[in-house]
């Protein structure tokens, strides 16, 4: 009993690290641009494909493959605001956006997903573990690959929070999130902050995809279910609240992991949505309240 409890806990925590990489980026983009990035999961998938290309096709060392995938998604992410979101923002001016940003990123999601399908085919691609071996904990054991996922997620998120707290561009991003007009009066170009924010957010998703590639298989639609689940997590944490998204990631992943004991695993995926709907009805501001990026 203790053994399986511990196993579920480890599984939940590792999964939580992945959810956090994904959901914190999504929440960051929402907090700064007020845009829900429906295409977030496609950048996760892209990260997986880039890792596959680097590690399997080009025989790079695993670390280079993962890093390359994260950097590659970041660079592609740099194009999203200047090419898509920015032109729509300028076109709208002061008029309300309504559903247009959601629809736009939905279109991007469809486009990216089918482009991946075209480029790489629909087959499940396998990436070998970045690190091999198993850590024996006595009562249970855990693969080093899972620890690597968790460790990298922790380091990457710590890096993001430090960047937002101390770096000039990080401060600028928070300033834009809190008060865009005043940020402009400081000489901060909104476009640059938006561009960087989107790239950071999707870069984290790409990193997640590269890390998880050996655990999931890589296929074009691999990220979409994660996107939907991350919506639930972001709402649970309070939209735009990064610390909230972090906390909610682990809440959802642990509840999911332990729920296996009570309900059949096919129904497991529903938990996040039920939680989301309950939260919206009872406490729409989320666990930690709606807060902009802080």
């Amino acid at each position: 009993m203790l053994e399986s409890l511990l196993e579920f806990a480890i599984q939940g925590i590792v999964l939580g690290g992945l959810y956090a990489l994904f959901a914190v980026g999504l929440s960051l983009i929402f907090g700064v641009l007020d845009v829900i990035n429906v295409a977030h999961g496609e950048f996760f998938a892209l990260g997986g494909y880039l890792a596959f290309a680097g590690i399997v096709l080009l025989h790079w060392p695993a670390a280079a493959g993962v890093l390359g995938a994260a950097v590659g998604t970041f660079l592609l992410g740099l194009a999203v605001h200047p090419l898509l979101l920015g032109p729509l923002r300028r076109r709208l001016g002061r008029r309300p956006a309504g559903p247009l940003y959601l629809v736009l990123t939905l279109g991007l999601s469809t486009f990216l997903q089918s482009s991946l399908l075209l480029a790489a085919g629909g087959d499940y691609l396998r990436v070998p573990p970045h690190v091999r071996g198993i850590l024996d904990l006595g009562v249970t054991a855990v693969a080093y690959q899972r620890l690597l996922v968790l460790g990298t997620a922790v380091v990457a998120l710590a890096g993001l929070f430090a960047f937002l707290a101390f770096h000039r561009q990080g401060l600028a991003i928070r300033a834009v999130a809190q008060n865009p007009e005043a940020a402009q009066a400081m000489g901060i170009p909104l476009g640059r902050a938006f561009t960087l924010t989107v790239a950071l957010g999707v870069g984290l998703a790409g990193l997640g995809g590269a890390l998880m590639a050996p655990l999931f298989n890589v296929y074009p639609a691999v990220g979409f279910p994660l996107t939907i689940k991350a919506f639930a997590i972001v709402i649970l944490g309070g939209m735009g609240n990064l610390a909230g998204a972090l906390l909610a990631s682990f809440v959802v992943s642990l509840v999911e992991a332990f729920s296996v004991m009570a309900i059949p695993s096919e129904w497991q995926n529903m938990i996040a949505f039920l939680v989301m709907i309950l939260v919206l009805l009872l406490r729409p501001q989320g666990l930690l309240g709606r807060a902009v990026v802080r």
Binding site: R168, E181, Q184, A185, M186
Partner: protein
Amino acid sequence: MLIVEDVRAGYGRLEILQGVSLRVPAGALIGIIGPNGAGKSTLLKTVVGYLRVTAGRVAFEERTLAGLRPDQAMRRGLGYVAQDGGLFADMTVHDNLVLGGYALPSRRAVRAAVEAALERFPLLRDRRRQVAGSLSGGEQRLLALARALVTRPRLLLVDEPSAALAPGMIDRVYEDLVALHRSGLALLVVEQNVEAILAVADRVFVLDLGRNAFDGTAAELRDSDRVRRLYLGEAAA
């Protein structure tokens, strides 16, 4: 230094400025007064670039500002303090000041500018680690002013520095404005508090319904029956 000529601007189809002109000579302290809805704040927002100029000319130091975004105008040497202060309420006093130095060329320049601001406003030094939103109204106004100075402007636009402040605090803010003016900074100040601005401004422009109604020195304004009756009445009472 700043030239505004026959400027028209507004929100979408709603035109609020219908041909406004004014000049700010180098080093001058110029006031703008007028009833609510006259377009005073709109004028500042238009000069800074938040609103688009639909007709007329805005030039700063002989170069046009038309078509520039606010962040670009700031890099040309304009500073702007919004009516609500425009502070980043959830960030510390220190981070607010550092953001003022966003456009400065180096970390060292930012550190020096922040230090100079704290020098000028010692009260803020004690509150450096405090979140800006937790300051009192008067302290927030001083922080907004200090932060605008970190951007190293040559002309500072200030929207209603006295709004919602206790009388003692208004005097305090105006002492700082006058000190800045003496040190050579040009200022363009929009004000509802007519007495406060008449006491310090080199010249005051009166706006009404989006147009120039009158302009002159404080003495000339007080001498004009029409101005006294229409625009200074409330303040004199």
